[in-house]
């Protein structure tokens, strides 16, 4: 089916986006952000346990607004909105550099909904009920490729027993349960594991980004009941493959929102800061990179909506569009981040200037699920089969 010209972005989607923008400006603005994650550099980087800032009140409000159920199909009690709506929300989260398990829960949701199992539906129902979730699918090499998680599953009559260590789990200390990829022999299955299950140990990573937490998680004879099997061994890989375009699109959308913040903030500074008798934005050495930021953001954002729309109506092209979007957004994020610090000059290099918060979030997202180089390598592979 061909994509609609307007990406399917209609009144409902716009209303959601506008209300999200307002809500986040009111409840998670730059002052709040700075106070919560960047008020003290010792605490950020030298605490005995790396921080995992979490605002339970904010989470409750977002659940109440229905944000966590957007991507949940109506059959599982969600609102089943289009992917363009999810992308729009992720974009706003990025614009606010939102500190919350919202994004990671959206990623888990988009994975669970691709598995037509009772276990998946039960997990989606928990998300509808306000529980947060995270994907746990990446191995120690940082390979998030579905075929190679660092966990094994021994399937029993009653359920499964998991052993091993999964890495690079996002917002691991803010979620109620993980969607874990585990191998039985060569077959990948997907399992819901509660964060408080005996045998689960969360080891926080020390990370650069201040707007999330990350961990590697050890499973030691973690036993789960059959009701928590999302995809039985052998069926997990297909689910992950189908969900992957949504992950790329959501993260790319987050980067677009953050990129726009970097552009607007740096532009405002270039209008205000005077050197050599002019606002520095007068000089083309400053003006032109700002324009280049804008151009790259607009390219990435257009590709993000094309990818979201493809997921909604043209699934055969979803992977291609999602990789285009993630490639564009990753490079954009890297460029905008570099320029946002550089063009702020001396103040931009200090902890007190907010640009480093976005810089670090962007660099984290750039790598998540593969950077631009990685995506383009996969895109090129698609041309191998074509004549």
């Amino acid at each position: 089916m061909a994509q609609p010209k307007d990406f399917g972005f209609g009144e409902d989607e716009q209303m959601l986006r506008d209300s999200a923008r307002k809500f986040l400006a009111d409840n998670a603005g730059i002052e709040t952000l700075r106070r919560s994650v960047a008020h003290d550099h010792h605490e950020a980087y030298e605490s005995p346990v790396p921080p995992a800032t979490y605002d339970a009140d904010l989470w409750a409000k977002m659940v109440e607004l229905g944000w966590t159920t957007l991507a949940v199909p109506e059959s599982s009690g969600g609102s089943g909105m289009k992917m363009v709506a999810v992308a729009a929300l992720a974009e706003e989260a990025g614009r606010a550099a939102l500190v919350s398990p919202l994004i990671t829960t959206l990623l888990a949701t988009c994975t669970l909904r691709e598995a037509a199992s009772d276990g998946a539906r039960a997990a989606l129902t928990r998300i509808v009920g306000g529980e947060a979730s995270a994907l746990a699918i990446t191995n120690a090499d940082g390979v998030w490729d579905s075929a190679d998680s660092g966990v094994t599953a021994k399937v029993t009559k009653k359920g499964a027993t998991l052993n091993g260590t999964v890495h690079f789990v996002q917002d691991a200390r803010k979620v109620a349960f993980f969607v874990v990829a585990a191998k039985s022999g060569k077959k990948v299955g997907l399992y819901v594991v509660n964060a408080d299950t005996p045998g689960v140990t969360i080891h926080p990573d020390r990370i650069v980004d201040l707007t999330r937490d990350q961990a590697h998680i050890t499973f030691e004879n973690v036993t789960i009941p059959a009701t928590q099997i999302v995809a039985p061994a052998g069926e997990g890989e297909a689910v992950l493959t189908k969900a992957m375009p949504a992950w790329l699109t959501i993260v790319a959308a987050d980067m677009c929102g953050a990129g726009e913040w970097q552009l607007q903030t740096t532009t405002a500074y270039a209008q205000m800061r005077k050197q050599f008798d002019h606002p520095i934005g007068f000089f083309q050495a400053v003006k032109h990179p700002l324009v280049n930021m804008m151009v790259k953001i607009d390219e990435a954002r257009s590709l993000v909506y094309a990818a979201a729309c493809a997921i909604d109506v043209e699934p055969k092209s979803a992977e291609r569009y999602a990789r285009l979007a993630k490639s564009s957004a990753s490079d954009m994020a890297a460029f905008c981040s570099g320029r946002s610090v550089q063009l702020h000059g001396g103040i931009g290099f200090t902890w007190e200037c907010d640009v480093h918060i976005y810089f670090k979030r962007q660099k984290h997202n750039q790598m998540l699920f593969g950077d631009g180089l990685f995506q383009r390598s996969k895109l090129a592979d698609m041309f191998d089969s074509a004549a």
Binding site: K5, D6, F7, F9, G10, E13, Q14, R17, L263, T267, A270, Q271, H278, P279, G281, F282, F283, Q284, V286, K287, H288, L290, V291, N292, M294, V295, D298, E299, A300, R301, S302, L303, Y305, A306, L324, S327, S328, L373, R376, S377, L379, A380, F383, A386
Partner: protein, 402 residues
């Protein structure tokens, strides 16, 4: 296509346009047309294209939205449809691009009714070709520095000076021209006229040879050329405002010309993959080289990004500033085509040295030729540097560069 949003009248017109174009699409010439209409130099091409535009005009597919009394169709929203259908039908471009995209809207906005009646119908029919006299040897990006003078003499004006980058001037009957009528003020010293070019005493048109070695545009010299005051557009001293009307339309036209629809771009990017699969590099094909693959994919990401950008430009909920996307068009397409051709040359390796007329040149020397030609687009209609100034100032609100 936006067919879904057509009114009943527009839908009927779309059907008419589609059917007419299908039935009247001309057989291609034996020689290949240049990439863009402004590069037409041969008489054979000119005749073929003028005939085609005239037929389209007679069929109601040109000037659809202009008032009837000035030779237009008197409709609203029809031209967009006609252009879409022409693009879809793959018919030849309209040769009088400068006339249609720049002269006609400027005359419509600023000309007297008498001038509109005199100039517009033959312009639409391609009976008279138009060219544009803005740039000068010392006034390129800084257009308001134009020095070609117009001095009043009774009911006439006497023009003296030197215009460059004048596409289509060898065929042109008329030129829209920006002249200096006063040195007291840079901007308010400019006045806008229409001047005859063909068979006109004191006018010399000289082809300029591009870096490709081909003719493509011209310089035009004015020596005591006499034109009546009736050929002045708007008031004396208002030339800069009139020129802004023209430029508003030019950048859109340049973008359309550069894009040639999406086809040129898609053809170019697909051509890169095909070329890489043929060319050898380091014992394998260039396509097997990871760095080359990445470079090609970078171009493909940008090309698809541009397509989606134009798509997004029409979605009200997904744009912040009305000019933010439209003002990027010319910059993006020109730099993308340039980078794509440059990459084609790199992939061709030693073969990139082979030029027109060499039997061994890959793709008929398209890569070096289009790379050389690409600088025409990054320079014309406001250089990329000027485009970035405009974006920075008009969209981002940064202080204006002097």
């Amino acid at each position: 296509m936006d067919a879904k949003k057509d009114t009943p009248e527009q839908a009927e017109f779309r059907d008419h346009a589609r059917r007419w174009l299908r039935e009247n699409k001309p057989a291609p010439l034996s020689t290949r047309l240049p990439e863009y209409p402004i590069e037409v130099v041969s008489d054979e091409h000119r005749r073929y294209l003028c005939d085609w535009q005239k037929k389209c005009y007679q069929a109601g597919l040109v000037a659809c939205d202009y008032p009837k009394e000035f030779g237009g169709g008197g409709h609203s929203g029809f031209q967009r449809i006609a252009s879409q259908e022409m693009g879809a039908a793959g018919t030849p471009y309209l040769i009088n691009v400068i006339g249609l995209n720049m002269a006609a809207p400027t005359i419509l906005h600023h000309g007297s009714d008498e001038l509109k009646r005199k100039f517009l119908p033959p312009l639409f029919a391609a009976d008279e070709i138009w060219c544009q006299g803005f740039s000068e040897p010392n006034a390129g990006s800084d257009l308001a520095g134009a020095q070609t003078s117009a001095v009043r003499s009774g009911d006439n004006w006497i023009l003296n000076g030197h215009k460059v980058w004048t596409s289509l001037a060898t065929f042109a009957s008329w030129m829209i021209i920006l002249c200096r009528t006063s040195n007291d003020d840079k901007y308010k010293g400019l006045t806008y006229y229409v001047t005859p070019i063909a068979n006109t005493k004191g006018v010399t048109v000289r082809p300029l040879i591009k870096i490709t070695g081909q003719a493509g545009f011209n310089e035009v010299l004015f020596e005591d050329v006499v034109i009546p005051d009736a050929y002045r557009l708007d008031e004396v001293g208002n030339g800069w405002q009139v020129a802004m009307t023209t430029l508003l339309h030019e950048r859109g036209a340049a973008e359309g010309a550069g894009g040639g629809g999406g086809d040129t771009l898609e053809e170019r990017t697909a051509g890169l993959v095909r070329l890489a699969k043929r060319m050898k590099r380091n014992g394998k094909t260039a396509w097997d080289d990871a760095a080359i693959r990445d470079r090609i994919m970078q171009i493909i990401v940008r090309a698809e990004g541009m397509r989606q950008l134009y798509r997004r430009a029409r979605v009200g909920g997904l744009i912040e500033h009305p000019m933010r996307i439209p003002l990027q068009g010319k910059l993006l397409i020109s730099e993308l085509l340039q980078d794509a051709s440059a990459l084609g040359m790199e992939i061709a390796g030693a073969h990139a040295s082979l030029y027109l007329g060499d039997a061994n040149a890959p793709d008929g020397a398209e890569w070096p030729l289009s790379y050389l030609n690409s600088y025409g687009i990054t320079i014309a209609a406001g250089t990329s540097e000027v485009q970035r100034n405009i974006l920075g100032e008009r969209v981002l609100g940064l202080a204006k560069s002097k």
